[in-house]
C-alpha cells in the first residue's frame, strides 16, 4: 500500500517521464517530420500533469499530503500548486515555439522532449524534502535548460548564451552542493526534517555557512541580486521562446524550492536566513529597476524586469508566515502570466520573413501599425509596473499587505518606493509604442498559437483577472498552510 501511494503521489512525474521517453523514441525514429506531433503530445502530457496535480490539490482526502519513497518526496498542496503553474507555463512555452524555430533552420523533436524532462526535474524540485532529491531535480532541470539555451546550434548568440549559462549554472550548483555538504556534515542528515531538527538549538558556525551557501546557490537559480549577472546575457542570447520558458517555469520551481528550504529546513533559524533574503530582495528590486533603465534591447529589459519581480516575490518569503507564503504564490501566478504575455509579445514583433525585432527603436509607434498588439503590451507593461486596475497591482498588493501585517513597515515602504523606479521603464515601453513616430518595421503577423497565449495572458492581467482572486486566494492559502504545517 505504501508503494502504491508513493507511485500515486508522483503520478505527474511518472506520466511526464514516460511521455518524455516515448516521445524521445518517436522523435528519434521518425525524424523532424513529427516535431509538431511530438509538441502536441508533450503539451497534452503537461496539461494532463497539471490536471492531475489540480486533483491532488483539491481532493479533500489528500488534504494533509503525504510522503513518498520513504521521506524523499512529499506530495502536498504547496507542491501541487507550484506544479500546476510549472506545467501550464511549460505547455504555453511549447505552443509558442514551433513557428519560431521552423523559420530558423528547422524545428526538432528534441525541444518538446527537453521541456518535458525539464518539467520532471522542476516538479521534483518543488516536492523534494531531501537534499539529494532536491539536487537531482535541480540538475535535471538545469541540464536541460543549458541545452535549450543553445538550441539554435548555428546561432552564435544562442551558443554563447548556452555556454555562459552552463558555466555559471555549474558554479552555482557547486556552491549549493557545498552548502548541502556542510549542512550534512554539521547535522548528520540530508532530509529536511533531520537537518531542521538538528538546527533547532544554537546555530553553529558551520551550519550558518551551510545556510549561506545553500541560499547563495538558490539565489543564482532564481536570479536574485547579487547573483543575477547571468540573467540579462542568457535571456538576450537564448532563442526567445526559450527565454520565455526560463523566465517562467524554472523560476517558479526555483522560488518554490527556495521557499520550502527556507521555511522547512531553516524554519527554526529564521533570524539567520531572513536577513539574507531581505537583502537579496531589496537589492533585486533596486538593481532590477536601475539596470533596466539604460537598456535598449527589450529582452534584456525583461530580464531586468524579472530580477525586479523576484525581489517582490522574495518579500513574501521574508515575512516567513502563512500570509507571506500565500502572497508569494499569488505573485508567482500573476508573474507567470505577465512574463509569458510580454515574451510572446516580443515573439510577435517580426517582419514578413520572420526576423525578430527586439529593440526600443523597432517598436516605436507600434500602436498605429499594430494597435491590438500594442494595447495588449500596454496592459502587460502597466501590469508589470503594478498600476491598478491591472492584476499586477494585486500581486504587489498581497505581498506588501503581508509585509506590513507582519510589522515590517519600514522595509515595505522602502521596497514600494523603489518599485516606482521600475515603473519608469515600463512606462517608457508604453511611451515608445504610443507616443513616438512609427518605425514601421514590424510587418509580420503572429501565429495563432502566439495570439492565443497573448490573449489568455492579457485577459488574466486585465481587470477581469480580479474575478480570479477569490479562487486564487483559497488555493494559495491552502498551499501556504501545507508549507507551514510541515515545518
Amino acid at each position: 500500500m505504501a508503494n502504491f501511494s508513493s507511485f500515486y503521489f508522483t503520478g505527474a512525474e511518472i506520466l511526464l517521464s514516460l511521455a518524455g521517453l516515448v516521445l524521445l523514441m518517436l522523435a528519434a525514429w521518425s525524424g523532424d517530420r513529427s516535431a509538431r506531433l511530438v509538441t502536441a503530445l508533450a503539451c497534452a502530457a503537461l496539461i494532463g500533469g497539471a490536471i492531475f496535480s489540480y486533483d491532488l490539490l483539491t481532493n479533500p482526502s489528500y488534504e494533509l499530503g503525504g510522503d513518498a519513497f520513504g521521506g524523499l518526496y512529499r506530495m502536498d498542496a504547496f507542491g501541487s500548486f507550484a506544479k500546476i503553474l510549472v506545467f501550464l507555463a511549460s505547455a504555453a512555452c511549447l505552443v509558442i515555439a514551433p513557428r519560431y524555430f521552423e523559420e530558423r533552420g528547422g524545428y526538432r523533436g528534441e525541444y518538446p522532449v527537453l521541456i518535458l524532462f525539464n518539467a520532471v526535474g522542476m516538479s521534483m524540485m518543488v516536492s523534494a524534502v531531501d537534499f539529494i532529491t532536491l539536487y537531482i531535480g535541480l540538475e535535471m532541470s538545469s541540464l536541460s535548460s543549458y541545452v535549450l539555451a543553445a538550441f539554435l546550434r548555428s546561432d552564435q548568440k544562442s551558443a554563447e548564451a548556452g555556454l555562459k549559462y552552463f558555466v555559471l549554472g555549474a558554479l552555482a550548483s557547486g556552491i549549493l552542493l557545498y552548502g548541502i555538504s556542510l549542512l550534512y556534515g554539521f547535522t548528520g542528515s540530508t532530509t529536511f526534517i533531520g537537518v531542521g531538527a538538528a538546527m533547532a538549538g544554537d546555530l553553529s558556525t558551520g551550519q550558518l555557512f551551510g545556510i549561506v551557501f545553500v541560499l547563495a546557490g538558490l539565489a543564482f537559480k532564481i536570479s536574485a541580486a547579487p547573483f543575477h549577472m547571468w540573467t540579462p546575457d542568457v535571456y538576450e542570447g537564448a532563442p526567445t521562446p526559450v527565454t520565455a520558458f526560463f523566465a517562467t517555469a524554472p523560476k517558479v520551481a526555483a522560488v518554490a524550492l527556495t521557499a520550502r528550504v527556507a521555511m522547512e529546513v531553516f524554519g527554526s533559524q529564521s533570524d539567520a536566513w531572513r536577513q539574507i533574503v531581505m537583502t537579496a530582495a531589496l537589492l533585486s528590486i533596486v538593481i532590477g529597476a536601475l539596470g533596466a533603465i539604460g537598456q535598449e534591447n527589450l529582452k534584456r529589459l525583461l530580464a531586468y524586469s524579472s530580477i525586479n519581480n523576484v525581489g517582490f516575490i522574495l518579500l513574501g518569503l521574508v515575512v516567513a508566515n502563512e500570509a507571506g507564503a500565500a502572497a508569494m504564490l499569488v505573485y508567482l501566478f500573476i508573474y507567470v502570466a505577465m512574463s509569458l504575455g510580454s515574451f510572446v509579445g516580443l515573439l510577435m514583433l517580426r517582419d514578413t520573413e520572420g526576423n525578430l525585432y527586439e529593440t526600443f527603436a523597432d517598436i516605436s509607434g507600434l500602436s498605429t501599425t499594430r494597435p491590438l498588439m500594442a494595447w495588449c503590451l500596454l496592459l502587460l507593461m502597466f501590469s508589470l509596473a503594478g498600476i491598478p486596475p491591472l492584476l499586477g497591482f494585486w500581486a504587489k498588493f498581497v505581498v506588501f499587505q503581508a509585509t506590513v501585517e507582519a510589522g515590517l513597515v519600514a522595509f515595505g515602504a522602502i521596497a514600494i518606493a523603489a518599485s516606482v523606479i521600475g515603473a519608469f521603464y515600463y512606462i517608457k515601453f508604453v511611451k515608445v509604442m504610443f507616443f513616438d513616430e512609427p518605425a514601421g518595421v514590424v510587418t509580420g503577423k503572429g501565429g495563432r498559437g502566439h495570439w492565443a497565449v497573448l490573449a489568455i495572458c492579457t485577459l488574466i492581467v486585465s481587470p477581469l483577472g480580479y474575478l480570479l482572486t477569490p479562487a486564487l486566494d483559497v488555493l494559495a492559502g491552502k498551499a501556504a498552510a501545507a508549507l507551514l504545517i510541515a515545518s
Binding site: I387, E405, V430, P470, D473
Partner: protein, 510 residues
C-alpha cells in the same frame, strides 16, 4: 444606480475602441450625456438629511476587499461636477482631435468611470484602485494627444503621482490590519492611536499633496496642463485636482483628527507659500495655460487652508472653492482652447483686442475671469469668503496672507484679460478670428449658468453637504486647535450656524 453610472462609460469606452472617428464622437457624447442624466437623477433622489450614506451597493467579488459603493453629500457634489464636465470635454475635443479619435474618446470615458469610482468607493482598496487607475488614461491623453513637450510632461505626471500614492498604500495596509476592516465609513469612526496617526497622516499627505497639488510638489501641474489637450486640462483642473481635496476631507481629517491638528501648521505654511508664490509666478507667465495652471495651485492653497481650519465654515468653504474652481478653471481652459483652436498658439502676446472681433467670447471670458478673481455674485466669492472666515478663527496671520492671494489673483487675471481681450488688435490673424460657434456656446454656456447659480444661490450646493460637514466637524471637535483671533461669542442664536444659509450667518462673527 452607481454601478450603472460606472458601467455606461466603461462599455461606451470599449465601443469607442472599435468605432471609427465619427461614431466614436457620438458614442462618447451619448454616454456622457446619459451619465449626466443619471447624475441628475442621483441628485434628485438624494435624500437631504437622510442617511449619511445613500445609494449603497455591496458585492463580495474579490479577495481581500469588496466592491462597495455609496455616496454622501460631499461625494454627490463631486460626482455631479464630474458628470457635468464630461460632455463638455467631449464637445471641446469634437474638432480639435483628429488623430486616433476612437482611442481618445475611450480614454476619456474610462477616465470618467474611474473618477466616479473614486468618489463613490466605500472600500479603502477599491478607492485606491480607482484613484491610481486614473494614471493610465491620463498618461495616454497627455502623451499621445498633447503638445510639443508632451513626453516630459507625461512622465513627470505619472511618476510624481505614483510615488505619492504608493506610500499611502502602505499606510492603508497598516490601517486595515489595525482596524480589521476595509470599510471607509467604519474607518472614519475608528480611533487610531495618536502616535501612529502622525505616520499615517504623513503617508496620506504625500499622496494627496501631490494630487492637490500643494507647493512645493506642484511642479508637475503646469507641465501637464500646458502639454495636455484642452479637454485633458479641463479634466485635470476640473476633477483630478479635486481628488486631493476629497482625500483630505474623506481620509486625513476624519481618520486622523489628532494628527491633522498636529500638522495643521505644515498645511498652513505650505498653503501660504502656495497662495503668494504661485500667484506671483502666474503674474509673469507668457503662456495662457500656464498662467491658469499656476492660479489653480493658488486656489488649491485656499482649499487646504479652509480644510484645516477645523470648523464648519472652513470645510464648507473648501468644498465650495473646489466645486467653483472645478467649473471656473475648466471654463478658463476651454476659453483658451477656443482661441487656441483658431490660432494654434497660447502666447498671450499673439492676441489682443479680441473684444472687438469676438464680443461674445470676450463676455464669457470676462465672466469666468471675474469668477476666478472671486467677484461677489460668482461662485468664486462664496467659497473663498467662507474658507477665509473659517481660517480667521484659527489664525489671523494665515488669513491675512491668503487674502493677499485674492488681490494678486485679481491682478494676474485682470492683467491676462486686458492683454487678450482689450487694447489694439495688433495681430491681423488674431483680429480675423470668428466669434463663438454654437458648439462653443454649448460648452461655455452651461458652465456660465452654473457659476452664476452657485454664486447667487449656493444653498443648492451646500444643502446636500451640510449634514456630512457637520458630522465631520463634530468628529474633529476634540482636536480643534485654539485660534488666535479669540472671537467674542455674540448673542446665542436660535439655530446653529450651519443651519442658516452659511454666508449670512458668518457675517456676524467677522
Amino acid at each position: 444606480m452607481l454601478s450603472i453610472m460606472l458601467l455606461i462609460p466603461f462599455a461606451a469606452g470599449f465601443a469607442c475602441f472599435l468605432a471609427d472617428a465619427r461614431q466614436a464622437r457620438w458614442i462618447a457624447l451619448a454616454a456622457t450625456l446619459a451619465d449626466l442624466a443619471l447624475g441628475i437623477m442621483l441628485w434628485a433622489g438624494y435624500d437631504i438629511g437622510g442617511a449619511q450614506w445613500q445609494f449603497t451597493e455591496q458585492a463580495d467579488l474579490f479577495a481581500g476587499f469588496s466592491y462597495a459603493l455609496g455616496i454622501d453629500g460631499i461625494a454627490l457634489m463631486l460626482i455631479m461636477l464630474t458628470v457635468f464636465l464630461m460632455p463638455i470635454c467631449i464637445l471641446a475635443s469634437w474638432q480639435s482631435i483628429t488623430r486616433r479619435v476612437g482611442e481618445y474618446m475611450a480614454a476619456f470615458l474610462i477616465m470618467e468611470a474611474l473618477m466616479i469610482g473614486v468618489f463613490a468607493a466605500q472600500d479603502l482598496f477599491l478607492f485606491y484602485i480607482f484613484f491610481e487607475a486614473g494614471l493610465i488614461p491620463m498618461y495616454l491623453i497627455i502623451g499621445v494627444w498633447g503638445g510639443a513637450d508632451r513626453i516630459y510632461a507625461s512622465y513627470k505626471f505619472f511618476l510624481y503621482t505614483l510615488l505619492g500614492s504608493v506610500l499611502m498604500l502602505i499606510a492603508m495596509f497598516w490601517m486595515v490590519a489595525e482596524a480589521g476592516t476595509t470599510d471607509i465609513p467604519t474607518l472614519m469612526q475608528h480611533d487610531f492611536p495618536a502616535g501612529a496617526q502622525s505616520w499615517l497622516w504623513l503617508a496620506f499627505f504625500a499622496s494627496f499633496a501631490v494630487k492637490m497639488p500643494m507647493w512645493p510638489v506642484h511642479t508637475w501641474l503646469p507641465d501637464a496642463h500646458v502639454q495636455a489637450p484642452t479637454a485633458g486640462s479641463v479634466i485635470l483642473a476640473g476633477v483630478l485636482l479635486k481628488m486631493g481635496g476629497y482625500g483630505f476631507i474623506r481620509f486625513s481629517l476624519p481618520m486622523f483628527p489628532e494628527a491633522s491638528a498636529q500638522f495643521a501648521w505644515l498645511i498652513f505654511a505650505l498653503s501660504m507659500v502656495a497662495v503668494v508664490y504661485t500667484s506671483l509666478v502666474a503674474l509673469v507667465q507668457h503662456d495662457m495655460k500656464k498662467l491658469i495652471a499656476y492660479s489653480s495651485v493658488a486656489h488649491m492653497g485656499i482649499v487646504t487652508v479652509g480644510l484645516f481650519a477645523f470648523n464648519v465654515q472652513g470645510l464648507e468653504g473648501a468644498m465650495v472653492v473646489m466645486l467653483s474652481h472645478g467649473l471656473v478653471s475648466a471654463a478658463l481652459f476651454l476659453c483658451v482652447g477656443v482661441i487656441y483652436d483658431r490660432l494654434h498658439t497660447r502666447e498671450i502676446d499673439r492676441y489682443g483686442g479680441l473684444s472687438i472681433n469676438m464680443p461674445q467670447y470676450a463676455l464669457l471670458f470676462m465672466l469666468f475671469t471675474m469668477a476666478s478673481v472671486g467677484l461677489p455674485g460668482t461662485s468664486g466669492f462664496v467659497g473663498e469668503f467662507l474658507s477665509l472666515v473659517g481660517a480667521y478663527q484659527v489664525s489671523t496671520l494665515v488669513t491675512l496672507l491668503c487674502a493677499t492671494g485674492i488681490i494678486l489673483g485679481a491682478a494676474y487675471m485682470l492683467y491676462l484679460y486686458r492683454r487678450v481681450a482689450f487694447g489694439v488688435q495688433k495681430n491681423a490673424d488674431a483680429a480675423a478670428m470668428p466669434d463663438l460657434s454654437l458648439r462653443e456656446w454649448l460648452m461655455l454656456g452651461p458652465i456660465a449658468a452654473a457659476v452664476l447659480w452657485m454664486g447667487v444661490y449656493p444653498e443648492s450646493f451646500m444643502a446636500p453637504m451640510r449634514a456630512d460637514i457637520a458630522a465631520l466637524d463634530a468628529r474633529l471637535a476634540r482636536a480643534a486647535p485654539m485660534g488666535d483671533s479669540l472671537l467674542e461669542v455674540g448673542e446665542p442664536r436660535t439655530a446653529a450656524a450651519n443651519q442658516l444659509a452659511a454666508s449670512h450667518g458668518e457675517g456676524e462673527s467677522h
